[in-house]
Symmetry: C2
Subunit: 112 residues, 2 copies
């Protein structure tokens, strides 16, 4: 998987899909912060927001890793979590799409 070749067109598709998922993920984090603020008028909620954002930053850094050597697994996880639609990956070679689908299925499977 690490030695797959990515054509210039595939790289464009990959970048666009990755960026779109990242934009959505950040917006979801923003919505959660807004909900925390709406839930109380207290100032002390800032520490809850801070902890939440520090956790979110770690998660996003880990999850959104744009290196071609790991991109198939990154996409598979995003697809499995509903953060990315297979449609958005249209334009990738069929072998890559098949791997992403297959890994997404594995990712969705409940732990034994």
């Amino acid at each position: 998987m690490a030695d797959l070749k990515w054509s210039p067109d595939e790289k464009k598709v990959a970048h666009r899909a990755f960026d779109a998922a990242l934009v959505r993920e950040r917006l979801a984090v923003r919505r959660h912060v807004e909900a925390l603020l709406r839930a109380t008028e207290e100032g002390i909620v800032i520490w809850e927001i801070r902890d939440y954002l520090n956790d979110a930053a770690r998660d996003i850094d880990y999850k959104f890793d744009f290196r071609y050597s790991v991109l198939i697994t990154v996409f598979a996880r995003l697809v499995a979590e509903g953060a990315l639609a297979m449609d958005e990956l249209a334009g990738l070679a069929e072998d890559k799409l098949a791997m992403i689908r297959e890994l997404a299925d594995v990712w969705r499977r409940p732990l034994p």
Copy 2:
């Protein structure tokens, strides 16, 4: 200053003033977060908020240090910064109030 005696009544005044200033400080931080959110619809503002909250947490931890050995300087700084009114310290012994006033003046003085 570190070996001042605090009577039970003075301790009550000190706690009340300290807590009131802390509540206001956290509310001010909250207002700033809300302003950052209002300034843009973008999700990426979450990282600016995160950095701001991490800085605010460090500042507040440093500034709000309730140890009687340092409380005079803590109050002086809060007074100098407008985070606490001298009125809120009514009930402390006059020597403490005088020290707080004097140190607050020093704190307000521009650096040479």
